[in-house]
Amino acid sequence: MVGAGPAALTASIYTTREDIETLLFERGAIGGLAAVTDKVDNYPGFPDGIEGLTLADNLHKQAERFGAVIELGEVTGITDEGEYKRLETTSGEMLAKAVLIATGCDYKKIGVRGEADYYAHGVHYCATCDGAFYRDKRLVVIGGGNSAFQESIFLTRFASHIDILVRSRVRASDVLQEEMKKYIKQNKVTIHTNVTIDEIVGVNGSVDKVLTTNSSSGEKKEFKTDGVFVFVGLMPNSQFLAGSDVALDDMGFVKTGEHMQTSMPGVFAAGDIRSGSTMQIASAVGEGSTAALIIREYLDGKLMPKSESSREVKAPQ
């Protein structure tokens, strides 16, 4: 399995319980984006929510309990050799009878001047990692979706004030917007909409301000800040599939048929990397378990049920 986020960890619980030897490769944090999320309130079974790192840790322990092996490293290529798939990895070449691609996404960068220059010197993408450095400091959060709002709420533990800069309108869920009202009332958070980021400017090697333009009035505005946290969306981790026979859509997500199979026989995809995914932990977990059951059928040599919209997956004879 390429990746060890919620989709792959769930899939591995199923495959290992069926005595299918399962190896997962993870180049980042086990648990994926869930592990770096402050709090998860919409994953079922946790009425008071659960810390992302705790959920990730629980999934990890459960997968290893049944025998999943997690290798800390990276898969850099996959080729089809019929009965086996050959994987190039940082631990050498490996053969597998089936592969699950579950590499998920990483946070996007804005792509403005100053962003790369000040990375880790005032520009950050992980609030749970770096928020603690900003006790009693001013912060800017860029983004208007669920991640921007959830992580801003986390950052209120440290920051004296947070300006949230939203490109157009707020898209965060109603629940998060409602929770944010408390911090707005306390003057801990101010939300600014129709804000285009022009540049991140520093002084003496540290971030000092963010230059912006209001997209409806054209007005220029500076936001003085000690740090910037960026949550502007997700990009798929599919660079290792470039040039392979695993088909991607226009945005780089892995295309799958009805039964999670990709265009390479014996290779399946689940979770945020999958084209059409709903980008939720609960969905990733569901897709991971579905993919595992389909992989079991595939390895048992059983044909997939035919349907007009699905490709038939033939197991090797």
């Binding site: 086990i30 770096v36 800390l72 490293g73 940082t90 880790a120 603690a132």
Partner: protein
Amino acid sequence: MVKSITIFTTNTCAYCAMVKKYLDIKNHTYEVVNLDEHPERQAEALSLSGALTVPVTVVTKHDDSQEVIVGYNLAQLAPAIA
């Protein structure tokens, strides 16, 4: 040869957990400085790493030279502890 390893971490940092896991797999012992519990040591982490981020891993060799790895970076960490 490695004389000592110190990792600067925070409670909520997933990448810090990954550095610890990697060092555990490689059977290395290490000191953990939790910056949530010891915010007074943030300046030390910043001056060692030049960055406002964790994890910061400081590998001290037997000749007292130090290598500082910022973030969860196996390409740098692996040779530093070899």
